[in-house]
């Protein structure tokens, strides 16, 4: 299987090159995306095979000048192939459905390379290959982010993104070098032999957190994510949010759980938990405040990555505290949520893409009422939004339930500071989940419900065919994963065993749950109960109530009907994106996101309308674009004085260097 996957990497790369020629015609572009759909299917199959088979390794016949590149497929890698495959397949299918003519090569070419980079990262079994895949993935996705050069905002996003990509790579290289130690062998097998300890372990972990964490979108290095993800075409956004963040998390897991050895102290998990909690809250809050549909979804990605990070951090801590069963529980929560998030976020981004395609806008304030024009998209998106809002019985609830169980059990670690921290984290995770629900209601409600806010939204059209299937597949998976998390955990068992060292807690196909005696969640039973209750309500009401409904104008406490020149009603009388966000902006935004509201009243007698300006600013972005460049410019201004020297003064520098060197030599001789 590994050989087949390795060949798939090569095939995808070749496809990328071939895309140069294929981009000339619609058929060629369709071929490329069709092949990528196939690649996604192969990835899923490979993941399943890898989970059922043992670990395999493969040396490639080429590599860097100092050795061969190595690939390996173990259960951990295999598990991450599943989200990768599903996302790749669905996104490619969506892109396939959107082709109506020749596609520019620069949009077509990076896509297979992007997929190949992610695959290579997951398969890598030495540091160089890992970095190669990681950076290839970053570069290819950057090319896709940078495709739209017309918008200054997009250019800024691409710039920041590429900077972060390089930064992440450098920190990962440092981490590899630090853990490799004197020998300098960065093959995973060698790293496992001599795991770092003491300050080295802390440094490696910090570097990995910075490198992989920035890619995954962990606070405070998440700032690029809500900028870059929306800038790409929608199917790319889906893959970036759904798959690429997972690959970054995979790297984090690979380091923290595998390469750094099993004997790590308890506190190693704490920074991950803290950063995860911060990401979850900031991400969810921003998602509840953003006014661009895709930015909103990207922020929701930050939130979900934060939740996964909490799970991983808990697992690390449990491992350190020698509580393997709980470690397995927390790992299960993290891995399951990674998969679930990949699926529902792909669905949501593809739906946003469909909306963008149909209504030509991503801004919530220009959409509305699309459920009438785009019912398929609307209902599919509702499934995704429900999962993102952690509503039972959809997939998001199952994994967040597991995560909460792990958090609620974390007090068993006997460290008071840890206990208090985890209690606070539980509250923050709940806050994040509830904020995400608010964000999703706002997203779905503003986009699909109400009245159209622009003529274009009123005339939106839904595309059918492949794009519709690309929405329905993840929607179905969202429901299915929500109903059968037990099956997925059984599937993940080898990976969980690899990470936590013991058999994962099993509660059968129909339930998931903590260790014996703990709580259980029976999603299928809960769904049946819910269905029965709804059915009963329906039956009871139907029996007593007269059939049919009457239609009338909107009542709205006697609001006046829309004027004739605004056939869809005055959009201003509907809740706007900023207005819907107002309660949360005032409650939490003030303190967390430096939110502001400012009312400009016209002078007395003026007929100008009063204006309300509301907004917020991510503190991390403010730091990135505030003090850091200031320091840099200050230092650069100082350094520039060196440049302004005349030739004579430059010679003086050389002369100074000579004299200094000689003095140094004299001093050394004298010693």
């Amino acid at each position: 299987m590994l050989t087949a996957l390795a060949l798939l990497v090569g095939a995808l790369l070749a496809l990328g090159v071939a895309a140069l020629a294929l981009a000339r015609s619609a058929a060629g572009a369709k071929t490329v995306h069709g092949a990528c759909v196939g690649a996604g299917a192969v990835l899923v199959l490979g993941g399943l095979a890898g989970l059922s088979g043992g670990a395999t390794a493969l040396d490639l016949p080429f590599g860097p000048p100092w050795g061969a590149m190595r690939l390996a497929l173990d259960p951990l890698a295999a598990w991450f192939l599943l989200p990768l495959g599903i996302v790749a397949g669905c996104a490619s299918l969506f892109a396939l459905g959107g082709i109506h003519g020749p596609v520019p090569a620069r949009l077509l070419l990076p896509w297979p390379i992007f997929l190949a980079g992610m695959l290579l990262t997951v398969l890598a079994a030495d540091g160089f290959t890992l970095l190669l895949g990681f950076e290839a993935m970053s570069l290819a996705s950057w090319a896709l982010v940078a495709h739209d050069t017309a918008e200054a905002e997009n250019r800024r996003a691409a710039r920041i993104y590429l900077g972060f990509a390089g930064f992440g790579g450098l920190t990962l290289v440092l981490a590899l070098g630090l853990s490799a130690g004197g020998a300098g062998d960065v093959a995973f097998a060698a790293l496992r032999e001599a795991p770092p300890d003491g300050w080295r372990a802390a440094a490696v972990f910090a570097l990995v957190l910075a490198g992989a964490g920035s890619k995954a979108g962990l606070f405070p290095l998440h700032v690029w994510l809500p900028l870059a993800h929306p800038a790409a075409p929608s199917h790319v956004s889906a893959a970036m949010s759904g798959a690429m963040t997972k690959v970054a998390l995979y790297v984090l897991v690979r380091f923290a759980f595998d390469l750094m050895g099993a004997a790590q102290p308890l506190w190693l998990g704490m920074p991950l938990i803290a950063l995860g909690a911060a990401s979850a809250v900031i991400g969810a809050l921003r998602a509840a405040l953003e006014e661009d549909a895709k930015t909103l979804l990207a922020c929701s990605t930050v939130e979900n990555v934060g939740l996964i990070a909490i799970g991983l951090g808990l697992a690390l801590a449990f491992r350190g505290a020698d509580l393997p069963a709980l470690a397995a529980l927390a790992t299960a929560a993290a891995l399951l949520h990674a998969l679930n998030h990949a699926v529902f976020k792909t669905l949501l981004f593809l739906a946003a893409g469909e909306v963008l395609h149909g209504a030509l806008s991503r801004r919530l304030d220009r959409l509305g009422g699309l459920i009438h024009r785009m019912p398929w998209t609307a209902w599919a998106a509702l499934a995704g939004a429900g999962a993102a809002a952690a509503l039972p019985p959809l997939s998001g609830f199952a994994s967040e339930w597991l995560l909460l169980q792990a958090l609620l059990a974390a007090w068993r670690v006997g460290d008071l500071a840890f206990q208090i921290g985890v209690a606070a984290t539980a509250a923050l995770a709940a806050l994040a989940a509830a904020l995400a629900a608010a964000a999703m209601v706002r997203f779905w409600g503003l986009v699909f419900l109400g009245r159209p806010r622009s003529p274009r939204a009123a005339g939106a059209e839904e595309s059918g065919g492949a794009a519709r299937i690309a929405l329905l597949v993840p929607a179905g998976l969202t429901v299915l994963l929500g109903l059968l998390p037990g099956v997925m955990l059984d599937l993940a068992e080898p990976a969980l065993r690899q990470l936590s060292g013991v058999a994962a807690p099993r509660a059968g196909f129909l339930a998931v749950g903590a260790a014996d005696g703990g709580a259980r969640y029976w999603p299928l039973a809960a769904a049946l109960l819910l269905a029965a209750a709804v059915g009963a309500a329906l039956w009871a009401v139907r029996r007593r109530a007269p059939p049919g409904i009457a239609r009338g104008p909107t009542w709205d406490c006697g609001f006046i009907a829309a004027p004739a020149h605004l056939p869809f009603g005055d959009p201003a009388t509907q809740p706007s994106a900023a207005g819907f966000a107002q309660p949360l902006r005032r409650m939490l935004g003030d303190s967390l996101l430096a939110a502001r509201e400012h009312v400009t009243m016209p002078p007395p007698g003026s007929t100008a309308p009063a204006r309300l300006d509301a907004g917020f600013r991510d503190p991390a972005l403010a730091a990135l674009e505030g003090p850091l460049p200031r320091w840099r410019d200050a230092v650069a201004a100082q350094a520039e004085r060196l440049r302004d020297l005349s030739i004579r003064q430059c010679l003086g520098l050389s002369f100074g260097a000579v004299v200094l060197m000689l003095a140094l030599l004299a001093w050394l001789e004298a010693r």
């Binding site: 440049r643 302004d644 020297l645 005349s646 030739i647 004579r648 003064q649 010679l651 003086g652 050389s654 002369f655 000579v658 004299v659 000689l662 003095a663 030599l665 004299a666 001789e669 004298a670």
Partner: protein
Amino acid sequence: MSFGQLGYDVAHLLGGGVLLLSFVLLYQRRIGAVINAFAMQGALLALAAAWAAHAQGVAGLYLTAMLTMAAKGVLIPLALHATVRRLDLHRTVETALGIGPSLVAGVGLVALAILVALPATEGARALAREDLALALSVVLLGMLMMITRRNAISQVIGLLSLENGLILAAIGVAGMPLVVELSTAALVLMIAVVAAVFAFQIRERFDTLDTASLEEHRGERR
């Protein structure tokens, strides 16, 4: 000692003379005098080379001596005088560091050179050691002159004097292979520099002319 006390003394004397002339270069205020002092230094260096040729029995060094005499003793000074006249350069030396402080700094540099060169060359022959210290001093004084003088001509002379130090070092090391070739190549470089002054028409000191014009040209300054 491969040769007698006299040989040592003469070589030492000539080397010391070259160093002394370096100080004279630093001391002079008028460009004409600087050029003349440089010509003297070149001539002295030629003598030293000839003496080394005689003492070491290397015929090639006579060639070096002759070239040095011709180029540095005569041609380059003449060319420099001509340049000063032709381009109507400032006749006085403009200093970035006063004459007095330059001399003090020069003495310090000589001390540094001795401090470095003598311990570093333990085991080598005495002449070579002395010679190296002198040569290193000349090199450093040449650089000092380059950075403390503002006229292009003075600076070029600083470079030329620096190169004199190199030749001094090369001829001091007995048996140095390729010494003729190397000194000739160095001479070519120096001639090229002098030619460049002429060709590039470096009229003013390269203090004002350099980066400022580059900045304007490229708009690099903010």
